[in-house]
Symmetry: C2
Subunit: 280 residues, 2 copies
């Protein structure tokens, strides 16, 4: 089964006259549009088969020159895994406490118990407080073969997205975060992660308490240009019924706000810990 | 329809007792496993609706703190678009010519016309030579709001992967590359791309001449660890029938080869220009 020799070039097969859309196109697009950050997980374990499935999907993603520098360190129930989850959770708790103040989660609508802001704060509070009970944590890593450059992420984050999409497809859920950052040195020591390996993301996985559903984003026309920067694309229209969120730098796509200009919490459906490093 | 106010926290809806896998799970997983780099495109145009579909999917991806810094500059038939494609094509031709020598595409099995290496070389030759005829080029960009950091890609490359997956779902194909790099300064001037906006990827799109199909990667057990770095995960097994490629740093996942240790061409199913900057 193993064929460790060169791969045939793609498309060596005869070309079909017309590419087919396939009957499942709408299902596939729906998957992409409804995979949202899942932070509330049930304690049930994730099976070996499920892990193999999501990691296989992760490794199907492209990488620069197909070098496949992605590595996936899975943390479940072993003693080092448990300690690692504790460590990350402690860092996340400290980071979130800071963000809660900085991003004013307890001001404005945050004082109303059922406001989106207050609900998000409760979700985040629980997420960090129970991080050590997360069924699976995957540290997505990048085995470097050259000096870091800004585009390195092109060889690991597509895999992270595939992992999350596959998880959603089989009834799991998770979120990509940077909560390893505050405790990275301790994590490296605990897990023997070599210096030349970058930790690119902390992905939590498990069975959702809630459910997946349509994500909210900025309107398409705000982020799509055609022909030149800032020029509108008339066709860049969201599907009917799309709901939006005003997250993102508030002053528009050509702005260059500093960290001090962060949008207030609650303008985001995943304000903290989804991807951004928790301590700015 | 537009609701520019805070988004409800995910999972505010009552939790179902059991998450469902859904009837389309196998289709969805198949999509992830068969979306490969498509470099041979037919000249047919991509429609407005198709573009809206793939860009909508792109923008459904997560980003740090849901800030949504991704921007997508679409290049089709306008005068600046045509000039931009020419520019990128010229850079790609020079970059590929260099790589062809450096990575020894014309040595070893590359001298056999039907070898994978020779076929890939032909595909790449054609890709760069006809780059200016690519139906659609999307420059995936990142509107920075803080100083660059290595994990910034977490807020743009998941969107690129969603874009490619959606393209595959509706019968299109493409490849993520870094071919803008050699001509970045000219591109920025031509397209008015602001300094604080990073160009993260050049994605080509169109109707495939060939077809999608199973991608080949390293065996799962080579890139998955559990409990500690380098430790095996017994469950990390590819599905039956999986074909492999030996791409990647040849000395294993804990190695740290330099650029001089690049694997020879032909060990990769997408050796140049898929993601890695063409001139290394």
């Amino acid at each position: 089964m193993q064929e460790p020799h060169p791969t045939p070039a793609p498309h060596a097969t005869p070309a079909p006259a017309t590419p087919t859309t396939g009957p499942a196109a709408s299902d596939l697009l729906d998957l992409l549009a409804t995979t949202r950050a899942i932070r509330r997980l049930r304690p049930d374990p994730v099976t070996d088969d499920e892990l193999a499935t999501v990691l296989f999907a992760a490794t199907r993603a492209p990488s620069g020159s197909n070098r496949q520098p992605g590595r996936f360190l899975v943390l479940r129930d072993g003693p080092r895994a448990r300690r690692a989850k504790q460590l990350i959770g402690e860092g996340a708790q400290a980071g979130w406490a800071q963000k809660r103040t900085t991003d004013r989660y307890d001001e404005g609508s945050g004082t109303l118990a059922d406001s989106p802001k207050a609900r998000m704060a409760r979700t985040m509070e629980r997420f960090v407080d129970t991080f050590d009970q997360t069924p699976v944590v995957v540290l997505a890593c990048l085995a470097r073969y050259r000096e870091p450059r800004p585009t390195d992420g092109a060889s690991i984050y597509p895999a992270c997205q595939n992992l999350l999409l596959a998880a959603r497809a089989i009834g799991l859920g998770g979120v990509m975060s940077m909560w390893h950052v505050p405790v990275e040195a301790q994590l490296r020591a605990l897990l023997d992660i070599p210096d030349e390996v970058a930790i690119s993301a902390t992905i939590t996985l498990g069975r959702p308490e809630g459910r997946h559903g349509p994500v909210r984003r900025r309107p398409l026309h705000e982020v799509v240009h055609e022909e030149g920067w800032g020029l509108p694309a008339a066709w860049a229209v969201d599907p009917p019924g799309t709901a939006y969120t005003a997250a993102g730098p508030p002053t528009g796509h050509t702005s260059h706000p500093t960290g001090q200009n962060n949008p207030p919490a609650g303008q985001s459906d995943s304000p903290k810990g989804q991807v951004g490093a928790p301590a700015g």
